[in-house]
C-alpha cells in the first residue's frame, strides 16, 4: 500500500523555482495496477521517484506499507528500496559494465544470499521476461525491448510488493510495448504486485485498474 499526503516538490534552480508537485494526495491499494498520465513536465516522474524513495519531497508525507518514510535513516531507506520497491526507468539504466545476469542480480547483492541463490533467482526472473537465452550478453548488445525486459527482471528479482514503471514502453514500438504490458499484467495478476505506471499511451492506460491524471503538478480527476 502506498499513501501520499500533501506532497510538494519544489526544484530550486538559480533564479527560477519549479513547483513539480503541488499538494498531491494519493492512495494506491495493495494489488492495484494504476497508470499515471499527463502532459510532459507535469511531474509524473517526480511523483514516481518520490514513491520509489529515489527523491525526497520538499514537503508532505510518504507511507509505504503503513510505514512513514520521512526521517528514516539511510540504512532503513536502502533496505526499503531493496525489499519493497522495484523500479523500471524510462531510460533502462542498465549497468553497461555488467552482463545481463549480473544486472538482474544487482538488487540481490544487498541481501543475505549466497551467490548460487542469487544466480538462481536471477535466472528465474529472466525466464519470467523470456530472456534466459541472453544471460551472458552485455546491455550494449541488446535491443530496446530486450533491455527493458532485463530492467523488469532486475526490478522484480528481489520480489518487491511494489513495482514502479516510468514510461516502460515509451522507447519501444507498439508491438514491443504490448509485450511489456503483457508481462506487467502477469506480474500484477499472478505475482500480486502493486504497480504504478507512468504512460502517455491512452490505450495502455485503459487496461489498468485506474488512471490518475496530472496537470502542472496537480492531480486532476
Amino acid at each position: 500500500m502506498i499513501q501520499l499526503q500533501n506532497i510538494q516538490k519544489i526544484y530550486q534552480t538559480r533564479d527560477i523555482e519549479t513547483i513539480a508537485l503541488d499538494q498531491v494526495n494519493l492512495r494506491v491499494e495493495k494489488g492495484e495496477f494504476v497508470s499515471v498520465m499527463g502532459p510532459s513536465g507535469c511531474g509524473k516522474s517526480t511523483l514516481l521517484n518520490i514513491i520509489g524513495l529515489l527523491d525526497k519531497p520538499t514537503d508532505g508525507f510518504v507511507q509505504i506499507d503503513n510505514m512513514l518514510i520521512n526521517k528514516q535513516k539511510d540504512k532503513k531507506l536502502a533496505s526499503i528500496r531493496n525489499e519493497k520497491v522495484g523500479f523500471i526507468f524510462q531510460r533502462f539504466h542498465l549497468i553497461n559494465s555488467l552482463n545481463v545476469i549480473d544486472n538482474v542480480e544487482l538488487p540481490l547483492l544487498y541481501r543475505k544470499l549466497s551467490s548460487s541463490e542469487r544466480r538462481k533467482l536471477a535466472q528465474e526472473n529472466l525466464e519470467r521476461v523470456g530472456l534466459s537465452h541472453r544471460m551472458k550478453h552485455f546491455p550494449s548488445e541488446l535491443s530496446g525491448g530486450q533491455s527493458q525486459r532485463v530492467a523488469i527482471a532486475r526490478a522484480i528479482a528481489g520480489n518487491p510488493g511494489i513495482l514502479l514503471a516510468d514510461e516502460p514502453t515509451g522507447n519501444l514500438d507498439s508491438q514491443m510495448g504490448h509485450e511489456i504490458m503483457e508481462i506487467l499484467h502477469q506480474l500484477n495478476k499472478v505475482g500480486e504486485m502493486t504497480i504504478v505506471m507512468v504512460t502517455h499511451d491512452e490505450n495502455l492506460a485503459r487496461q489498468t485498474n485506474r488512471i490518475i491524471r496530472f496537470f502542472d503538478g496537480r492531480q486532476v480527476n
Binding site: 520509489g52 525489499e83 539504466h93 559494465s97 552485455f138 532486475r154 528481489g158
Partner: protein
Amino acid sequence: MWKTSFIQFFKIIRQNKFFTFLNLFGVSITIMIVLIAAIKIESTIKPGGPERNNDRMLFVNNEVLSAENHMAMGGISLIKIEEYFSKMTSPKAIAFGNETPWSYFGEQGVEEFSVKNVNAEWWQVFDFEFLEGRPFGTWEVEQSSNVLVIDEKVQNRFFPDQNTLGQMLEVSGKSYKVVGVVKSVPSNCTYSFANVYMPYTLTEGDGKELMQTGSFSMIFLGASEANLVEIKDEFESIRKRIIPFLDEGYELYFGGPENAVDSYLRDWANPKHYEGSTARKLKILGRFFLVMLLPALNLISIQLIRIHERSEEIGVRKAFGATRSGLIKQILYENTLLTFIGALLGLLLALIVVYGFHDLVIKTLFNDFGEGVSLSINFILFIICLVASLALSLISGIIPAIKMSRLEPVEVLNGGKL
C-alpha cells in the same frame, strides 16, 4: 561480502579497460622508476663491499681556501693530513689516499687501471677481503717500501696461472712486489675502489704547503654514533688551529667530515654549500616531490574521472538498495585494490627489468663504471611507495565517494555534480 566485492571489482574493471589500463600504468611505471632510480642512489650511499660499515665512517674530500678576492678549491693537501689531521685521537682509524690512473700499453692496446696511494690504516678503515697475502703495514709505508696490493682483475691479467705473492709488477715504469690480493671492489664503492693499492709515500704527493690544496681524501672510522660527533668536534678544533698559520685574511673550509649521504649530496661547484647540506637535501627532496606531483595528480584525476564515469551505476545501486556506507566502502575498496595491483605490477616490472636486463640497467645507471655493482630492489622503499599510492587513492576516492553517496538516487542517475 569481500568475495562478492572482489568479483564485482573484476567485472567492473574488465569493462572499463581504458581507465583500468591508465590507472595501472600510471602507478606501476611510477613505482618501477622510483625503485630503479633508488638503486642508483642506494648503491652510492650504501655501496657495500669494503664500505659495508660506512654508517660509522666520515668522509672529507675537499678543502677550500678563500680570501676576499681569491679562492682555491681542491682535494686535501698532504701537509694538513700529515701534520694535523692524521694525529687526531678520537677516530678508531684514519684512512687517507689519492688516486692516480695507470695506463698499461700491452698487446691488446691501452688498458686502464686505477691506482690508489694510501696509508696503512686504510686497511683498518675499509673491510677488504684478502684472497691471498696481507695488506702493507705502517712500517712499509714509512719506509716507502715498493709493495703493492692488487685486486683479482689485475691478478687475472698479469699472473693468470702462477703464484702471485712475491711477484714483481711494473706500474707506470717502476717495479713493485705484490704482497696481497683482494677481492675486486665494486666500482660503486667510490672511496675504496682501485685495482692497485700502494703506500702513498711512494708517490710525490701534493699540497706540501699549508696555502695549497691537494688531491687527498680522508676517511674516519668511528667506534659508535657518539664517537662520530667527537670526531667532527676534534676536526673542527684542528681546522681553527690551522687558520692562524694561513696567509692574512684567508679562511679554510672542508667538505666534511660528513656521512656518505651528505658526501653524496655535496655540491662540488658551490663552496657556499660547504657550510652544510640541509638546504641541499631539502632542495632535492622538494624536486623529488615536484616530480612525484605529476603521477600523483594523474592518479587522483583518473580516479575522479572513474567515479564520475560510474555515476549512473552508483545511482542504480542506490535505487536498488545500496547503503551510503556500502557505496563509500565499495568505491574505496575498488580504488585501493586497483592501486594495490598497480603497485605490485610496478614491483614486478622493476624486478623484471633489474634481473632480466641486468647489464643494460648497469650501463644506464652507471655508464661504464658499473663493474661488479650488485643491483637489488629496496623493499622498504617499495612498501613506502605502496603506502603512499594507497593513501593517494584513498584520499582521491573518499571525497567524491562521500559526495556521491549523499546525493539522492535520482540526482546521481541524472549525472549528479561532484
